[in-house]
Amino acid sequence: MTITLNTLSTAIARAHAAMSTLTDELNAADAKLGDGDTGTMLARLIATFHSVDVADAPDLGAGFLALAKAGAASTGSSLGTLIITAMMTASKATAGKNEIAWRELAPIIAAIRDSAMARGKAELGAKTIVDGLDALAKGVEGNTTAAETADAAQQAMDAVLDAFRDRPSAMGRARMFAEKSVGLDDPGMLALAEIVRAVASADHHGNSPAA
């Protein structure tokens, strides 16, 4: 059981389906201190991903690159650009490969975290999606199956949201309201958690997407 273009394609389909309910929730989270568009932006980006025929890409690296390219033409928000950066990082890490083992996922997510930090200049602990990626990378480390990974990923995301909720934001639009941000989830971190839940929960219930 490995990660293939089909895994990727199924994950996108699930995320896409989940956006129908997530859009408003994420917009509302962003509206508290930001401009209220996290959900709308993410919905459009994921719809763009969904319209890309990843399953037919020559390999995983090409699949991720196709997503990055499509995304680069479709979004201009900070979170969107971080996600595109993530796709480019994943593309480099999987160049020429048709499959990777589940245990290879953690180092890729760690690399994504690092590239997001380089791009967005956020430190760890600033309460952004970067902290979510960090927790996710650490959480899925060592897991070897889709179900195990799904479990670990969800737990990691729940834990990181809990851990950061009562801390102040130190980045982006929310920075200037550090105090007001205490008690609120960071919209980007929340978005990652919700997407992970949407993608992983099916696996967790034994409904593996692996080819």
Binding site: A31, L33, G34, D35, G36, D37, M41, A72, A73, S74, T75, G76, S77, S78, L79, G80, T81, L82, I84, T85, R119, G120, G172, R173, R175, M176, F177, K180
Partner: protein, 331 residues
């Protein structure tokens, strides 16, 4: 909020089409035509000046493409930054072989996208420099001025950078004057009513019937305080005081922009300007080239901002250089 529009999905496309039809000096360029460039093309050997940002702020950003101002501009959806591709398209359109200054507001997404676009441009041997508009004093303390977001005051840097580029100066010089202008420009806004993103279910933010918010951002980002509406003079006094708290001590000359956020009419802007001019005069400052009108808006948002650009000889002379775009003419 009622809007005279068609399908919200076509809002930006139709708006850009209309803009370019009305102003034939502007042309849509790039893959998805989300960059605006000067129709007459780029003068060879001139440094390009580009900007970019979300839609919904006209005349900003695209409206300032013109002689002695911007050469090209990337434009995103309403209140969303332009895509990486659009940033690349704008940079390519403004490339006259002498490098391109990317001059835009300090927003995370825009920064990252222009940064990625600049990396791509570098691969094509196009040299870029970035200067960020950081004039909104409500968005960070003076000690962290570089973290401030960019609002209406950005147009002063458009003007000086555009004028400097028009002289044939090199990229470094154009970037330097842009940065100096940004460093000497401060803005504070007050919002009275919300705007609504086309297609959205409701207004972008809520504000009570007799409340106003000082320092609110041009996308409705929270400001410094939200209180009861009060007389214009009292508001202006408070705004000018905040702006002058960071007054550089090397000049007695200042340019002023009293800007409508959208639905606040000219009449009120002049009432605000009147008081602002009195206060600046009392502070020993001489006003040069005041600008009063809707220069940087948020669609139908109510409210106004006041920007001060503290002049030196170089900035003052560049502000006075000839320029012409659909929304701003200097003769």
């Amino acid at each position: 909020m009622k809007k005279l529009i068609n399908d919200p999905a076509n809002y930006v496309e139709e708006m850009l089409d209309g803009l370019c039809m009305a102003h034939p000096g502007l042309t849509r360029v790039g893959g998805d035509k989300r960059a605006i460039a000067r129709t007459q093309g780029m003068r060879k050997g001139k440094v390009g000046v580009v900007s970019g940002g979300g839609s919904g702020h006209l005349p900003l950003f695209t409206g300032y493409v013109g002689e002695g101002l911007l050469d090209a501009c990337a434009i995103g959806n309403v209140f969303e930054g332009p895509t990486i591709n659009s940033c690349q398209d704008a940079i390519a359109a403004a490339n006259g072989g002498a490098g391109v200054l990317c001059l835009f507001g300090n927003y995370g997404g825009d920064k990252m996208n222009f940064e990625m676009a600049s990396e791509f441009a570098a691969m094509d041997d196009v040299q870029t420099r970035t200067v960020l508009g950081t004039d909104d004093i409500a968005s960070a303390k003076p000690e962290e001025a570089e973290k401030r977001r960019g609002v209406a005051g950005l147009i002063f840097a458009y003007k000086t950078a555009g004028a400097m580029a028009a002289t044939g100066a090199e990229l470094e010089t154009v970037a330097t004057i842009a940065q100096k202008t940004v460093d000497r420009t401060r803005t504070i806004g007050v919002a009275t009513s919300s705007c609504q993103i086309p297609g959205a279910a409701g207004p972008n933010f809520e504000i009570g019937d007799d409340e106003i918010e000082m320092g609110m951002g041009i996308h409705g980002e929270p400001g410094i305080w939200r209180k009861q509406l009060r007389p214009a003079d009292a508001l202006v006094d408070e705004m000018i005081e905040m702006l002058l708290a960071e007054r550089p001590d090397d000049t007695r000359r200042v340019s002023v922009l009293v800007n409508s956020l959208g639905s606040t009419p000219f009449e009120e802007l002049f009432i605000l300007y009147r008081r602002a001019a009195e206060k600046l005069d009392a502070a020993g400052l001489t006003i040069v080239r005041p600008l009063i009108g809707p220069y940087v808006t948020s669609m139908e948002m109510g409210g106004a901002s006041i920007s001060l650009c503290f002049l030196d000889e170089e900035i003052e002379s560049l502000l006075g250089a000839p320029a012409s775009c659909p929304f701003w003419t200097v003769e």
